[in-house]
Symmetry: C2
Subunit: 220 residues, 2 copies
Amino acid sequence: MTECRVKECRVKDRKTAILEAAARVIAHHGVRGLRVEELAAEAGVSKALVYYHFGDRAGLLRHTLRFIGDRAERYTGGGPPGPPGTPGPPRAPKDAALELERRLLLELRDTPEVRENSTAWGELRASAVFEPELREELARAGRQWVREIADLLGRIDPSPPDAALVGAAERLTVLLEGLSTRWLIGVLPVGHASELMRGAIAAEVEALRLREPRQACAVA
Amino acid sequence: MTECRVKECRVKDRKTAILEAAARVIAHHGVRGLRVEELAAEAGVSKALVYYHFGDRAGLLRHTLRFIGDRAERYTGGGPPGPPGTPGPPRAPKDAALELERRLLLELRDTPEVRENSTAWGELRASAVFEPELREELARAGRQWVREIADLLGRIDPSPPDAALVGAAERLTVLLEGLSTRWLIGVLPVGHASELMRGAIAAEVEALRLREPRQACAVA
């Protein structure tokens, strides 16, 4: 076990408090509603401490993006399951299918935590049109997420080439983000969003299976 | 032919000039960067005229959203094709499949017009989290677009129930919006976005076909 020295813990607590406050402020007032002065007040720290830890506004936004991504991974139980074929849960194709659905649908739950996290994530993503310094972190997080979903798809059916698994994973993650946005802006009920997501998973899994040559039917 | 009286034409021109300027400003500076004073200057009209035509800021945003939607419909050659089975192009399933792909992929072209229009649309959609008065217009435009795509899917294959066609159309339109966002924030090349969209169309069309009972294969 690593020992957490008192000073280190306090620094970590304060950094976390600032990031938690940033996610909260962004979810309620948007990225452009984020003033470092108000954020410092919300986190109960000095403005100087925010700059000390994150350098500038761009650094703060990048770290907030990563913090939100890590939080989402925690509540969806994510993290790399390892490449297809290596030992590690879930092993059976049926378990992998359940895990895939679970992982994706956990982002569509109407809880304060998911709502705040997804709203802040969507807002940061949308802001990247005007704040190019966010792009690298968004691209990195996107690639990692796609890899995790592609690995789960590969456990359901290891026969398709990796590019096909990655393509399906890209579509599923982009669709999930889109459904989440429509839910959060209030034009799509969360239950219907989940239903559409289930349909997309079924269609993609089926399309991957159809890549295999099928047994010809005898004409009667 | 309707006669366009000089005064009517001038009013229409000025309204259009304001809406064109609004789309331009939103695409470059975001919804929250839109100040009515600067917009009026950009459109070459008075601030009072903006308020006269659109009432308030919320009214202006709603009209801009509809203007952008109409413009997208123009460059994708959209508009309701009528319910499945009624006369009107495209009639043959193969033509409908081509038309579906064409209609969706025209939103993923790197031209100044599509880029500006899609950026402004994405920004207005993202802003709806903080500007609830945009939701009704977003929901209306979304429903209309889904109906058009569902009708095209029904021309490719009229056998699935309407709910299945609508579900597939919802997924395709949400995915397209998500791919468009990723392209516009610079994390997905437009060619790859088109490739992913083609894959989704193929998967959805195939999944709709799989709903039909299939001829059983004779086991050799």
